[in-house]
Symmetry: C2
Subunit: 429 residues, 2 copies
């Protein structure tokens, strides 16, 4: 298959995250200080407001154009999958048609000079727990006798996270204070967490929502997903261990969640769809409301995700980050469609711009564990870095960088960009 | 002390929830269809937009007037406690000064003809678990060997709830479907909940927020609380029992939460402040970040709360609702200030309009249990209603009505109005 090229030269670089076949959506600020929608192409951003202003979207319907002039993706998300596909196809034409170049080029802005913002106003944020490897590994550490609870293979387990503290890649992360009680302590104490961790996750945004009281059938679930991003669910393991029973994680997680700024559409991921996770022999079949032939056949996404670490020392020595792990979204026990359908199965109303996340993406192997809790077995086996440093958990000045991409013979690489954050020392507490 | 009277006659009725000393804030819609802010006075609403338009708030500063012209309380909440006190005092003057009557009266609208809306755009919703009686009773049912977990008396336990499904009093509640697995079943099944319950709670709105990464000292916590409302945390107990481990309640709760429309300010509750819950001998002292002399001395609120039930048959027979229980907010183990300070202690940013809730308000006695789970001991001891009906949990057509009020010799009664909802049959699932 011949790969269609763009007249934006950087988009044809085989190493770019943002070829013509990707066109992820985001929100950015130009030097005028105003937030506007954009689409990443190579090392540039196509400014959608400028595109509309130049009359380049005249063929697209009025509703779509209007959404391109807002300052968040929510309105576009609400239009639904078909409208977004139509817009994306139109943008692809503009960015590949050399005849359009002169008219489109003024609407480009270099990514290097743009400030990326949160792509949407996130009403509610829900984090799932869809990696059976992660659930088992973590379960073993917190409950050695009882690692995987009996509901896990029946229920896509999830919980509500905090929307207000979701930040975009690049925002600093202040080490949180909290109550902890080591096993050997009589009483708890309050202070900076000693077990700050990242979690390598993938987020997905709700496109069209559902009304309160109405479910979303599994066969329709994907039409309610706008697209995906990378997500770091920063976690304080010592706070978590002491607070999480019986109502789940709270302050251990809600101080910050970082997402990558570009939302990769389901359309862009189309060539990388794979069968849903193969359940082990003896595993229960999902209940009918979570079962669809189509979802079983191609509910998975072959999306590689990686976590990298750059310590303060590495920065000072101008050394590159080191890779901590690599996983794949296809290893999730539950599909995105199953998570979304489960979420709405009780009539819970999902709204455009709501963010759902996969939970830590861990795989079966030692090099595919998506957080330090698993990698260092709760600090028992510290990580040896090549420069001589060691880590049980994150230290002040550490930068965590998440990356993600789809790659397959005959298709341009579809990348997610980066999701970064540096840990700042705790305030006195 | 002589009680100041209003020229709005209905506000001087000793039985009204809304005397001059209350003046709770809300959002309502008049016949023109537009949402606007209002303050309840007797059986009337003072339309704040109309009040501003008539120049009656000219003495108040411009910022406050501007907030009164929006369609949600968020902006006013963000101004902080002092600004709201100033506005409320000014409104109190207008509504008591007979000389102002002719100018103010055109801004009144009867409550009977108004549609009440959600008072704020709720960014995040957090539910606590602050009644030690409730936590112990529920713990005993779910974990007979281990009712009250070791963290309870140290940590104000809470979890994130769903903001999108918070509805205002009067909205119908669709019985949710979900996965359940009775103890004697081999595998779970999907269907309408058989254990629909209410939870009698009190909600409180965040006024001024805090920046991400910054805590809120306990001594300042109350200045971040705008006011209180009643809250019904509808719960499906069978779904909850199967899903809640290890990440807490999710679909068992997030299908709907009902709140009363009027937000009673902390100023209005001033005369009803009482010492914080007296900890039993041997109970640990709260950690220093949760301790303040002032909070200990008057962190409690003597607020009576009641749950009432009106079944479909009672409605058909024109019979009044029956009271299920009555509790008191002063019986909470943790104060509102402690919950708020704990929430922000890790730097989690609370935003104006965020809603926090107490958790089920249960007391020590049999008649003060705030949900059917406790009252019927998970259905084991069905409730006998006077008309011959029985209830283990809620049935279709049941209406739950929450009420709340402060009452004390020499002070007008400060009421909360009502928080109502009728259960509709499940959709086929």
């Amino acid at each position: 298959m011949a790969v269609k090229l763009s007249w934006v030269e950087s988009a044809n670089d085989p190493q770019t995250d943002f070829p013509l076949g990707n066109l992820p959506f985001g929100v950015f600020r130009r030097s005028d200080g105003l937030a506007r929608l954009g689409v990443a192409i190579g090392d540039q951003i196509l400014d959608l407001q400028a595109t509309v202003a130049s009359g380049l979207l005249a063929q697209t319907d009025v509703e779509i154009s209007r959404c391109c002039e807002t300052d968040s993706l929510n309105a576009l998300m609400a239009l639904g999958r078909e409208a977004v596909s139509k817009l994306r196809t139109h943008l692809m034409d503009l960015l590949s048609d050399r005849g359009a170049r002169a008219r489109v080029e003024p609407a480009l802005a270099p990514q290097a000079g743009a400030e990326m913002l949160l792509p949407a106003q996130i009403g509610d944020y829900t984090d799932f727990y869809a990696s059976v490897y992660h659930a088992t590994n973590v379960g073993r550490l917190f409950r050695p006798d009882n690692p995987l609870l009996p509901n896990y293979k029946h229920v896509p387990i999830g919980y509500h996270g905090r929307a207000s503290s979701i930040v975009v890649s690049g925002a600093d992360i202040r080490r949180p204070c909290g109550q902890t009680k080591p096993a050997d302590a009589e009483v708890p104490s309050f202070g900076p967490t000693r077990s700050l961790d990242y979690e390598l996750e993938v987020g997905f945004f709700v496109g069209k929502g559902n009304a309160r009281g109405e479910a979303i059938p599994i066969a329709e679930a994907e039409s309610h997903i706008f697209g995906l991003c990378l997500l770091n669910d920063w976690s304080a393991r010592d706070i978590q261990a002491w607070e999480y029973q019986p109502l789940g994680p709270f302050l251990a997680k809600n101080f910050a969640t970082t997402i990558s700024p570009w939302v990769v559409t389901m359309d862009a991921l189309e060539p990388f769809r794979v069968p849903a996770f193969a359940r082990a022999e003896g595993d229960p079949e999902p209940l009918p409301y979570l079962t669809a032939t189509e979802d079983r056949a191609r509910g998975g996404i072959d999306l590689k995700v990686e976590a990298w670490l750059r310590t303060a020392r590495m920065r000072a020595e101008n050394a590159p980050p080191v890779k901590l792990s690599q996983g794949n979204l296809r290893d999730l026990y539950w599909t995105l469609a199953q998570m979304l359908t489960h979420h709405a199965s009780n009539g819970c109303n999902l709204q455009s711009g709501d963010l759902l996340a996969s939970g830590t993406v861990s795989g079966a192997t030692r090099d595919s564990l998506g957080c330090l809790l698993e990698i260092t077995r709760r600090g028992a086996e510290p990580l040896q870095l090549a420069n001589g440093e060691t880590r049980k958990f994150l230290e002040d000045g550490d930068e965590v960088i998440l990356r993600g991409y789809c790659q397959r013979e005959g298709h341009p690489r579809i990348g997610f960009g980066e999701c970064r954050g540096i840990v700042l020392p705790a305030h006195p507490c």
